[in-house]
Symmetry: C2
Subunit: 523 residues, 2 copies
């Protein structure tokens, strides 16, 4: 059985069970056996992390940055091997997806995090010289990161966005692998711990297990030694962890399900129907639809144009080959979600061919309902069908589009395509006014699938898309704030202040708010 | 029976019960009868607030600011009356406390909030021009504010810090009065609703009830029409509300109990023992100790100096008159807390005379335990005794002081007094290293009771001092972030962006982060 990474050592797990991943391209179990950890593994990690945290608090930002940079280099060195392992476990294409998109995104995030650790801008230093009070965000404590199934590198608990943000903010990480790609996670963790050694950080700065029972998971996220948790994944498991963490007063940041509504107005259809078919089709079936920001809910106004749009879209759905899904679990959840939508009254607009071969897959599925149907049973109709399925709501004009949007839960994104000639601005205003409070990111004339690593990105949104409407999981330095603790220093003697709050700007270029004015100058 | 303020009207409550406040100076019930609201009142307020929120989203910041300014003026106009009512309900001195300190603080906060609404700095605009993504915090939705008993004006649900922050961030407020000063709250709400009318805002922008049953309170903070809740008060009631809000995914910001540890080193005692006795005595018994930041836990090293310090402190405790407590409930909780500390093994170092007359009061109480005792039973020994009582921990040197601090829960503040000649820096480092992660605000050589309204203030701290370590309840604009929703605008056409994110800086002086650089310039 594979070993877990606890306090700098690859050690035998005191396992409560074992599991194997499945190759979704063949539907065959992969040979390696991974432990389901018992509490004893977690106990060791929490003790290690508590020690590593005290060590990390004394480190200069440059030391943390040097680990992140070294780790990025190591991942590039191991690229071919990583791509091969991840491909076997996820079915995602070796190229461009894994090798040319996701791995560079991952190393890019690690390097941005390194730069952010050094600049210190993330910590929002505020100096009130008249009152002698200075404040900034500081590291919070060990962070548990639960990675999702759909990004084996870029959101991996031991290499992805939450990992990079937590480390750069000065916190050790305890990673929980996604059960669908444990070997990928192990391979990443191997590089991580070597980079930890090379950069001289505490050996428990990065730790990793593969899987945990539900009760141990709840105990883990509520443990007093932990600072916070970042979780990306399915809603039910996430909410169970949230309940446990909340009860213990431990911050937990969740990135859960989202149907990502897209509204296309009549004017937009008039202007560019074929292009819109193409854009929506590409975005909704990209990666077999397995993105958090997959636009699974399309809302369009009734009429000849939308009928034409849907006919062309349906043709594309039918004729495209069904993509490979990440795991048997994803395939069965997708089937279930489509059943819920159908049972609620959605009709089948298009169903593609049954997938060839033994791989994990599901026919491309396009469902349809009316605005009236949606509004009458919004809970069921906004069931997330994670994968290559989507629901089209055909609404009776703008008023009904607005009602559909008002009946939505929180989402990560929302898009509006409308006429570019200014003829629909009043419709746009009503639609955007209803949509904005429901989404973390509002888009115009653009599909939501891409999530740029930008300081202005919000990969977040109102509950239940996430657990808190004020934080983003993507975008350095903003995503680091989740793993910070606000601390005020009141009348603290100058030479005892954290470097970033002293009179002298420690880097000469860190942005600080001094008496209401942002500046890089020293006092 | 007094009326509640629902959707702009003073209306009869569909009351589930009634209550009267007590004049703590006489221990007599005050004549006015106030309703315990039933759900029907809350339902009306939530519907009103949802409407007011949609209205408020369309307002210019200047309109919101004008309400806040008008309200501040009105409170100044009603000063004498307000002071009289609040004095009768709380026993707090008319002057300087109510008239010259707390009311000016309250109007000052309202005016700072008005300025913050106009400047827009609180919303942290971030512009990424290369990728065409722009983000800022926006209003979140109606905010429920539960005010505490100890600041009838400055933290009142309908006039205090949370109120000002929520309104300035663009959210209607539903205030829940403290049961100990309902008439004060009513009088404030009368001025608030007149100011709402004068400034032309939606009539349900400010609403108020006096009291709610526990089940209705839980239903209230988890309602889908609500954006968030701010609560300041007792721990048990706050945690019950937190459980309900958390389960519904609704942000709730709590400001709960805190013992606010103060460490005084041997060097500090050597340098200025008499001054320290005076400072600690003044801070701990000010306002009969009824401050969130009251330094109820003093940690000092064993020795002749601390014996002398404690002897003088005990004398002061004995000879000072016991202050009047805010209510019979405060007096009985204080008695209970002292019993818990005594039962845990704390010895009585000094107890003042029994209070004169029928007023709500408790003898000044100074308890003592050893470091060893504290570390063996930290949960009991850090029981908050809200009022004129304190616990002194006499520790065996720095190592034990550090252990005491490590055994603490989260606190709002922590102070360290140490030698000023640099001879104790290594002790200071160890003490501060242990204390910092436990507190929201670290002080040197200064008592924590004052909470300046500064942008660098953190009136917050790790759980259970508050519900989240990343937010402050005092300090505009920072406190406004609790009531904001992060929204990214991706590829949104220029003239459709919120004013604050357009190329042109809307005020010419709003700070915005453009491509990594903070500036007030336009694009």
């Amino acid at each position: 059985m594979e070993k877990v990474l606890v306090a700098g050592q690859w050690q035998e797990s005191l396992a409560a069970g074992e599991f194997q991943a499945t190759n979704p391209s063949t539907h065959e179990k992969l040979p390696a056996k991974f432990p389901v950890s018992s509490w004893s593994d977690v106990e060791g990690m929490l003790n290690g992390a508590a020690e590593a945290f005290q060590d990390m608090r004394r480190r200069r930002p440059e030391e943390i940055a040097s680990f992140l940079e070294r780790y990025a280099e190591r991942l590039e060195g191991a690229r071919d091997e990583l791509v091969e392992i991840a491909h076997a476990e996820t079915g995602l294409p070796r190229a461009p997806r894994l090798a040319d998109v996701e791995l560079p995104r991952t190393t890019g995030q690690l390097r941005k995090a390194a730069a952010a650790a050094i600049s210190g801008d993330w910590s929002m230093p505020v100096l009130d010289t008249a009152l002698g009070i200075r404040a900034c965000y500081q590291s919070l404590g060990p962070v548990a990161v639960f990675g999702p199934n759909n990004f084996p590198f870029a959101f991996n608990g031991v290499a992805g966005g939450d990992f990079a943000a937590a480390i750069a903010a000065g916190n050790p990480v305890i990673a929980k692998a996604s059960s669908s790609h444990p070997a990928t996670t192990k391979r990443l963790a191997e590089e991580a711990i070597l980079a930890v050694q090379e950069s001289g950080l505490h050996p428990a700065t990065v730790q990793m297990i593969y899987r945990l029972g539900h009760a141990d998971g709840a105990k883990f996220v509520s443990d007093h030694r932990l600072g916070a948790t970042g979780y990306t994944g399915a809603r039910r498991a996430g909410l169970a962890l949230k309940a446990a963490a909340d009860a213990a007063g431990k911050p937990i940041y969740l990135e859960l399900s989202s149907v990502n509504p897209v509204v296309i107005t009549k004017g937009a259809l008039q202007e560019s129907l074929p292009a819109l078919v193409d854009q929506y089709f590409t975005s909704v079936l990209m990666g077999a639809g397995q993105f958090c920001t997959n636009p699974g809910l399309l809302v369009i106004p009734e009429g000849d144009l939308s009928a034409e749009f849907l006919k062309e879209l349906a043709d594309r759905f039918r004729s495209a080959a069904a993509g490979t899904l990440l795991s048997p679990a994803v395939a069965s959840s997708l089937k279930q979600a489509v059943e819920v939508l159908s049972a609620a009254g959605a009709s089948m607009l298009a169903q593609g061919a049954a997938p060839d071969g033994p791989r994990c897959a599901f026919p491309n599925t396009l469902l349809q309902c009316s605005g009236e149907q949606f509004i009458a049973d919004p809970e069921k109709f906004q069931t997330e069908a994670f994968g290559n399925a989507a629901l089209v709501v055909v609404a009776k004009g703008t008023l009904e589009i607005v009602s559909v949007l008002e009946s939505l839960e929180g989402n990560l994104t929302g898009c509006i395509y409308s006429a570019t000639d200014g003829s629909e601005e009043s419709d746009y205003d009503r639609i955007a006014f209803a949509m904005t409070p429901k989404v973390g990111r509002l888009l115009n004339d653009k599909m939501p699938t891409g999530v740029a690593v930008s300081p202005a990105m919000n990969h977040g949104g109102p509950y239940p898309a996430t657990g808190h409407p004020g934080f983003t999981a993507v975008g350095i330095p903003a995503s680091m704030l989740r793993f910070g603790k606000l601390t005020s220093f009141d009348n603290v003697r100058g030479d005892r202040l954290p470097a970033i709050l002293r009179d002298q700007n420690p880097t000469g270029k860190t942005w600080r708010n001094i008496d209401g004015r942002w500046t890089v100058e020293s006092l």
